[in-house]
Symmetry: C2
Subunit: 187 residues, 2 copies
DNA sequence: CGCCATCCATACGCAAACGTATGGAAAGGG
DNA sequence: CCCTTTCCATACGTTTGCGTATGGATGGCG
């Protein structure tokens, strides 16, 4: 029985839990009392670690932004000569089936960004970095500047647009289609 | 002074106003008392026309779905031989700059669909119809079945994915990039 | 041992929003 | 002209959530 082990939370635990809730409830579902219940404490704890709800939201944004930027830099690094498979890898990684949680967070943050300036800025930074990294990859593939930029934009727009659409994701046919689309973007 | 003209609302007026609010506040911002205030009445009126909030939401979904389906059928009709310009037209029409309001509604409904089964079904129907219509267009362009389906999926994923991203939409460079992307999708 | 800092619980006031109940005004038909 | 139907206002009870205030428990440290 670890019921007596005084579970001491810190800011980071709260942020992690908040991102969970954000993923499947959206920002508007991110209420401090709900979050506290899920953490097994009361909001007394929350207001010890955070000034107010806004304080938490900003922390969530900060954590998300940093993670995404670190991620994209990592995902777009490729050994010379291995750029093409790396492009396919990026498409795969950011696609819905794998990394389901990540996609849900992504969508929640982007919807959030439509109404919140701070979230908007965070998404803006992430998008800029991603498009930049993607473009670099296509450039190393030998594409001209404009074409590389266009492919990169197309890639991310497609990937996140796809996760926005509703159709049978387990359809065998869809797998084939996605392969064709990946070819269209990468080659 | 038309202050005395008793503005009599009907279900449809409410739905129209609701879609306005939905567009820039999301479903969670769609509160009946807020909506009533915007309509210049109190919620007493609302509950006369609707059983409850859910009743309104369903009406909104129904209206949205019908409109989108009627729209896509219209937009993908092309004179024989004029299919290619029609593809470019579809991309243009569903892109962010024109039709800003439509895009906002689209995003709001799709985010809504992540948590509401009814909204999910509506989006599913719309997506199916759109992909089907788009595929038809590519087929008439002479593409093989798989390729036509892939292009259609890519088109819609790109278009809505694009409206999800944040970057300078007035950048002159972006216009050129979008042209390149449209070429990549259409040709 | 006793004290203080850290972390959390409890209780409160307040506001927004849902849905209900009931009353009232306006309009049209008999 | 009255009366019924239609449409809306007002008032109420309830829930949910924010933020504050205050007290309690726990552990380290002198």
């Amino acid at each position: 029985m670890e019921a007596k082990t005084r579970v001491t939370l810190d800011r980071n635990s709260w942020v992690r839990a908040a991102i969970e809730v954000l993923a499947d409830q959206g920002v508007d579902g991110l209420r401090v009392e709900v979050l506290a219940k899920q953490c097994g404490v009361t909001k007394g704890s929350f207001y010890w670690h955070f000034k107010d709800r806004r304080d938490l939201l900003d922390a969530v944004l900060h954590t998300w932004k940093d993670g995404r930027i670190r991620d994209i830099v990592k995902q777009t690094r490729a050994e010379p000569g291995k750029e093409l498979p790396q492009v396919y890898h990026v498409i795969e990684v950011y696609s819905a089936n794998r990394n389901r949680k990540g996609i849900l967070i992504e969508l929640a943050v982007r919807d959030w960004a439509r109404r919140d300036p701070a979230a908007h800025r965070a998404v803006e930074e992430v998008d800029r970095k991603r498009i930049e990294c993607g473009k670099e990859l296509f450039l190393r593939l030998g594409l001209p500047d404009d074409e590389a930029a266009a492919r990169s934009l197309l890639l991310y727009a497609y990937v996140f647009g796809q996760s926005l659409m509703v159709y049978d994701r387990h359809d065998e046919n869809v797998v084939r289609l996605k392969q064709l689309i990946a070819d269209r973007i990468a080659r």
